[in-house]
């Protein structure tokens, strides 16, 4: 293993995303898209201009009748507790 700052740890990649918009996948079928203002080693984060997408699956007896709904919420500034975070990535705009 090389010594010195040449080796980047995963959290160093998150540092590159500061002040950029990012995508966060969270537990509970939730996703966030917002501007990363701060983070720590626990993946606690502060995001600005956030859009939260909550996915709700409604199962039914017939496989063809179940539905998937999404609920979207917006927040101007949000602290996110790190223990809920699954992954962090650049936003994938569809």
């Amino acid at each position: 293993m090389a010594t010195g700052s040449a080796v980047e740890q995963p959290l160093d990649l998150v540092r590159l995303s500061l002040d950029e918009r990012i995508y966060v996948k969270m537990r509970g079928d939730r996703e966030l898209r917002g501007r990363l203002h701060g983070y720590d080693q626990h993946m606690n984060m502060v995001l600005g201009e956030v859009e939260e997408t909550i996915t709700i699956v409604e199962p039914s007896d017939q496989p063809t009748e179940g539905s998937i709904q999404t609920v979207k919420k917006n927040y101007e500034m949000l602290f996110v507790r790190g223990d809920n975070v699954i992954l962090v990535a650049p936003p994938m705009r569809s």
Binding site: L18, D19, H37, G38, D40, E76, M77, L78, F79
Partner: protein, 94 residues
């Protein structure tokens, strides 16, 4: 300790704490500790009909681990300062 310091700058601000059990608690931030446990004054629970047992609650102590989000007024956050602190914090050897 980054977010501990961050929350200390927000003492006195109105915030909404969203818990992992989906409860929303509005109140004024009184204090925070190293575990990000939160004390709120003048609390109001978002959906009072659903949670009548906390209707008479004035002040609350919330264990940090049960928090999902803290909704913050954007005006209360110095984003440049926070980004700078996050950069510095990630460079410290842990």
């Amino acid at each position: 300790m980054l977010f501990y310091s961050f929350f200390k700058t927000l003492v006195g601000q109105p915030v909404v704490v969203e818990l992992k059990n989906d409860m929303l608690i509005q109140g004024t931030l009184v204090s925070v500790d190293q575990f990000l446990n939160i004390k709120l004054d003048g609390v109001r629970v978002e959906d009072e009909r659903k949670y009548p047992h906390v209707a008479s609650l004035k002040n609350s102590f919330i264990r940090g681990s049960v928090v999902r989000y803290v909704h913050i007024p954007a005006t209360a956050v110095d984003t440049a300062l926070l980004q700078d602190a996050a950069r510095k914090e990630s460079q410290q050897p842990k």
